[in-house]
């Protein structure tokens, strides 16, 4: 976690604005910090796509929760129910051991998956790899590809398809869902995901990035403040260089 107050202090130091009202939290620091957070999410997205980052970089944002898949072996990440905004799925783990031990509840209908708020993920022997839409159908009967339905034993090789909206107006009332194969209908599934960091609202908040990103957050926030100062300012070029260097190191 990074304390917002700490960030603001460091930014004031670099701006030489200690004790000054030239820059205010509500109008300058807060929008800059939130913009920097959004920018970092974008940068990390790109890095994740290229397998250049591991979850350890964002440990404060990683969660593992348990769902029950619907009868189509699909799971909806309902942000309103989970009370978190999804950034990205990191792992889908079928056949989990859950705590406390229990059997999955009965599904209310064919298409509704259930988020298990009071069930903890305790472990699994399986992990589903991500499939592409093109490979999804082609690999269904290929016994050596993830997501095949032929192997249901210890060699079961799970796969999941990215979020797709299968809904209809009347018969399948859902939003986007991931689909898992081989079939996990009515079974528990553990999902590890990244949540989008919560926006800063007061100076007493914390940012859910690891403390190792403090410098990057300071530099990028200053970079956004510098944009207001007009082009070719010293602050812009200095922070731009620092940010580029840090991102390169991270990648």
């Amino acid at each position: 976690m990074i304390q917002v107050q700490n960030l603001v202090d460091l930014m004031k130091f670099e701006l030489d604005a200690e004790g000054s009202d030239r820059y205010l939290f509500e109008t300058d620091y807060k929008p800059a910090i939130n913009s920097a957070m959004n920018w970092l999410v974008s940068v990390f997205n790109k890095a994740f796509e290229q397998n250049k980052l591991t979850g350890e970089n964002l440990r404060d944002l990683i969660k593992t929760r348990v769902w029950v898949a619907n009868n189509f072996s699909r799971i909806k990440f309902d942000e309103a129910v989970v009370n978190e905004t999804l950034w990205s799925f990191m792992a889908v783990m079928p056949q989990p051991i859950v705590y406390p031990t229990q059997t999955p509840p009965t599904l209310p209908n064919d298409y509704t998956s259930i988020f298990m708020a009071d069930v903890a993920f305790a472990g699994s022997d399986f992990s589903a790899s991500k499939s592409t839409i093109e490979k999804w159908n082609e690999n269904k009967l290929n016994v050596f590809e993830p997501g095949n339905v032929s192997l249901q034993n210890q060699l079961a090789n799970y796969s999941y398809l990215t979020e797709i909206d299968y809904s209809t107006d009347t018969t399948y009332l859902q939003d986007s869902e991931i689909e898992i194969r081989p079939d996990v209908s009515g079974q528990f599934v553990g999902i590890t995901y990244l949540k989008v960091p919560t926006d800063v609202s007061t100076v007493n908040d914390s940012i859910e990035f690891p403390a190792t990103l403090t410098t990057l957050m300071v530099q990028k926030s200053l970079n956004f403040i510098s944009i207001k100062q007009g082009d070719n300012t010293t602050l812009f070029s200095v922070t731009e260089n620092d940010v580029n260097r840090l991102v390169q190191i991270m990648n």
Partner: protein, 244 residues
């Protein structure tokens, strides 16, 4: 009992091939398939070389059925047969089946059930000759079996008696990939594990040498500088031949 389970063998080879990460190119099921494939070959050679019961598997109570209607191939109406309880090695003279026997209560000294009435192997082609001699004629006390196809064993001599089930001893192959138990003792001669591992590693190494470009992923990953720009000419082309 074997000290090794299939999971150890598969995971050992997967690790050596560096195929244990999430972006692996060879799935564990594929390594398991190779292990079973190579293992079946080595095991069959081993069984043929040794007079040993180590890999003989006995199945009791295998139900005998009388075929109700014919269908091609290998299903003939009115004949008695069993479905093999496991896949067998195709040894010479059907020696993948070591013995077949059934119990008939006509003995006084009560020998073990499986030695009561033992079937003798024949073939459909030579069966006719058996009926020409009183001593070889198939009968409940002198029954025969023959194999047709990979699934069914037919019987001669028990047509008129009620035999519900038989006992059979098989030299069987490994279970198929879809049914294999990774954590069961690995039914394989332990002294050949190193040969098995080496041969599967060779297979894996060969597979990993197949260029990625052979897969159509819709993306060209060849650097521009490696794309040939000049016409490729065969070494046998006339321009490459010199006058002796």
């Amino acid at each position: 009992m074997s000290n090794t389970i299939l999971r150890y063998v598969v995971d050992d080879i997967s690790k050596d091939l560096k195929q244990v990460a999430d972006d692996k190119k060879i799935e564990r099921a594929q390594v398991a398939y190779w292990v079973l494939m190579v293992g079946n070959r080595l095991k069959s050679q081993h069984i043929q070389k040794r007079d040993s019961g180590m890999f003989l598997h006995t199945y009791v109570g295998v139900p005998v059925e009388k075929v109700a209607s014919s269908s091609n191939p290998n299903t003939v109406e009115g004949r008695k047969r069993i479905k093999l309880p496991a896949s067998i090695f195709d040894f010479n003279k059907d020696r993948g089946i070591d013995y077949i026997s059934y119990w008939i209560d006509d003995e006084v000294d009560c020998p073990p059930e499986f030695t009561n009435k033992t079937f003798t192997r024949t073939t459909p082609k030579t069966s006719a000759i058996l009926y020409m001699d009183e001593y070889t004629k198939p009968s409940p006390s002198n029954p025969y079996w023959y194999l047709t196809g990979m699934e069914y064993v037919y019987f001669l001599g028990i047509e008129k008696v009620d035999v519900e089930s038989i006992e059979i001893g098989l030299y069987s192959t490994f279970d198929p990939l879809t049914e294999i138990d990774l954590d069961a003792p690995f039914d394989f001669p332990e002294e050949l594990l190193n040969v098995l591992k080496r041969q599967v590693l060779d297979l894996g190494r060969f597979v990993l040498q197949i260029p990625e470009e052979r897969r159509n992923d819709g993306v060209s990953t060849t650097p521009a500088e490696n794309i040939p720009t000049q016409k490729l000419i065969s070494v046998n082309d006339s321009v490459n031949k010199s006058e002796e």
